[in-house]
Symmetry: C2
Subunit: 415 residues, 2 copies
């Protein structure tokens, strides 16, 4: 398919032609949904002051596609979502690479979960039993077997679990590729902050842009009207990550219950990769992961901090990452520090994302992905665009429905 | 004194007017000597591709002026130099502030040396005895007394030594101020790399600049000749820090025996200072220091690594700093990371600097200051410009003479 020219200024769309789909937010979720919708022939726009920028949680994400090794007690629903999205990743990655011409560094060589102390080993054994109960394909390894797979692991590593089906990808490459694919597919990028929803009775008919334009250079875009202008769309999707719950003017019945969960990561650089696959591990109960890229980059992550909209990189955050990573892979101490960043994940009360229609006609949500935005991007896009098959889609859509926080008033209320 | 215009292109100085003094190297040593010489009315030039830049060791220096608390067994000569230069700092700082209009954040509130473990306390007691023998004015404190002075110190700190005469300064402010003062004093800055010495018989008559100009933007400066041009001077001083020993074309009898000693530091930021004075401490034998600035910055330093010309910031370097600093002052973990950098100190075989004439007429050295460049800058400038009083100057000059590595051939040689 040939590249399509980006339509002229979005600030003055012809009043008769609303977009089919408008995404508020240009992180990995908004861009993925926009791309899949454009592939299906829809007219699509994305409003974000700086799409795919350092503000997006995906910028600070490691890109583990590891629903198996990250499974947690009581969170089987999240496992179902993760497995369904992991199954979509190979085609998603291949099609995105083809559409964008970009390499995503997508790799499916499995995750190795390791235990450092005897306390960690006890937890690992319980986890292995839980995984077997769930019939997940994992393999229990001794410390020596772990080191045979990954020779840089410390002698102190006691044992491990190999999840051969887990994969990983470079999230920064993914968002860059999505931007390139969007341009080729003719999706309109509106470099502006959204100030509020446009309504016609109950129905949402689009958004109102902030007066200053909110563009990265602070300038007013061509054709911008003094009030920032209006973008009309048949369907609007709020995909603003941790900021989705802070959008002005949202009525309470659709305001998503998301909160920012801060994560700090460190990107190291080595002449060549020192690990072959993703390594996760616990060091006396503290978890760390090491994600290798093909170019020798190694990502250490990640803290989980409940501090509101705080994106400071702190001495304590780096210390925690380094302390645990060097216990598992002592060789990391020799690597150069390329970058340290903090991002904000959109957490929800039940750790499940919010995907799908709200009580307001014309408005959907796609947020609350917490630590799973990159993993869940293909499934999220499929649910929003109707690409998910009916049988699969219905069950999964119900798990993610934003209505779940508003349909079950506490017993006694309204009685 | 009114500002003086910088002379026109240094690439074509009038053949009849060599500079009185030419400094090779625009770090804290070269700039200080240039400034003091210009104040005495000399015509001065400094050749450096990027003076006061991140390449200079002073960029990664913490700026402790702490000859007392840093005293080491067998290094009384270095202590003498440090005390002599510390005594010069108040006037040096006041005159530099006046000449430049810059604030240096110079503070003379003392250094607190603390011990973490019982092993550290034993070493501290031995050090206290050594200092008393040297009649240094220090005060032995209990752990509780340390925390009364610095409430953010950890409860585990066992005891300390207060050196009330020690001071500190912000080295980046110092080099910025020196650049401003040089401009006001009419010193010529030559943004070029020096390719070699110009000779007339034995005598050094100036330098030859590198053909590419070596200017920061890579362009060729106005008036530059194809071979880079020649700068003539009655006296040339090699002050190129760790690179002084690697300068091409230096005859072996003047090549300074300096080697790069890598140091990594971390600059943290807090809303307001969490320490009142410099804190140095040992944590099970590993030393770390914390230097507070007036604006809330806190510098953690520093590693000492013998790795050649390697300026990579490494995971292990940061880990080592954080591990020790948080044991002494747990509150550092809450602070934001502003910057992590590595610099190269010019180390010498006897840990003393190389200051003064070489066997080649017209060529002096001012290098090899290792960890003491900022502390020793006033004394170094005074020795080079004749500002040091005769009695003091002669004894100190002899300690620093570059000839010491060439005047004592091993017994048996030449016999």
């Amino acid at each position: 398919m040939p590249p399509t020219a980006v339509p002229a200024s979005p600030r003055s769309p012809s009043p008769g032609t609303p977009y089919d789909l408008l995404l508020i937010g240009g992180g990995v979720i908004g861009l993925s949904a926009a791309w899949r919708a454009a592939r299906r022939g829809l007219r699509v726009a994305v409003a974000d002051p700086a799409p795919a920028s350092a503000a997006a949680a995906s910028h600070a994400a490691a890109g583990m596609l590891a629903p198996v090794s990250e499974v947690t007690y009581t969170e089987e629903p999240l496992l179902r979502l993760g497995l369904a999205s992991l199954a979509r990743w190979p085609a998603f990655a291949a099609e995105l690479a083809a559409d964008s011409g970009h390499d995503l560094d997508y790799r499916a060589e499995g995750t190795l979960e390791v235990a450092f102390g005897s306390d960690d080993l006890a937890v690992l054994d319980e986890l292995a039993a839980f995984m077997r109960k769930l019939e997940l394909p994992v393999e229990r390894l001794t410390g020596r077997e772990c080191r045979r797979l990954e020779p840089m692991l410390a002698p102190a590593v006691r044992g491990g679990l190999l999840a051969p089906g887990d994969a990983w990808v470079d999230p920064r490459r993914v968002t860059r590729a999505l931007l390139a694919a969007l341009e080729r597919r003719g999706v309109t990028l509106i470099p502006a902050r959204v100030a509020g929803l446009e309504r016609s009775g109950e129905a949402v008919t689009g958004v109102r842009l902030a007066p200053d334009g909110g563009s990265p250079d602070g300038g007013s875009p061509d054709g911008g009207s003094p009030d920032g202008g209006v973008v009309r769309a048949r369907r609007t999707v709020l995909a603003a990550g941790a900021w989705s719950g802070a959008m002005e003017g949202l009525p309470p019945e659709v305001l998503p219950p998301v909160r920012p969960v801060k994560g700090q990561i460190m990107r190291l650089r080595s002449p060549e990769p020192i690990l072959r696959r993703c390594v996760r591990g616990s060091v006396h109960g503290s978890y760390v992961y090491l994600v290798p890229r093909g170019d020798g980059e190694l990502v250490l992550g990640a803290t989980q901090e409940e501090l509101g909209f705080d994106t400071r990189v702190t001495a304590g955050g780096l210390w925690e990452l380094l302390r645990d990573a060097r216990e598992l892979v002592p060789g990391v101490t020799e690597l150069e520090v390329a970058d340290v960043v903090a991002g904000l994940r959109p957490g929800t009360p039940d750790n499940l994302p919010l995907i799908g229609p709200t009580v307001l006609p014309g408005l959907s949500l796609a947020t609350g992905h917490h630590r799973g935005g990159v993993l869940l991007a293909p499934l999220t896009a499929a649910l929003l665009t109707g690409e998910a098959g009916d049988d699969e889609g219905e069950g999964l859509a119900a798990l993610c429905s934003p209505l779940r926080f508003h349909e079950n008033p506490r017993v006694g209320e309204n009685a």
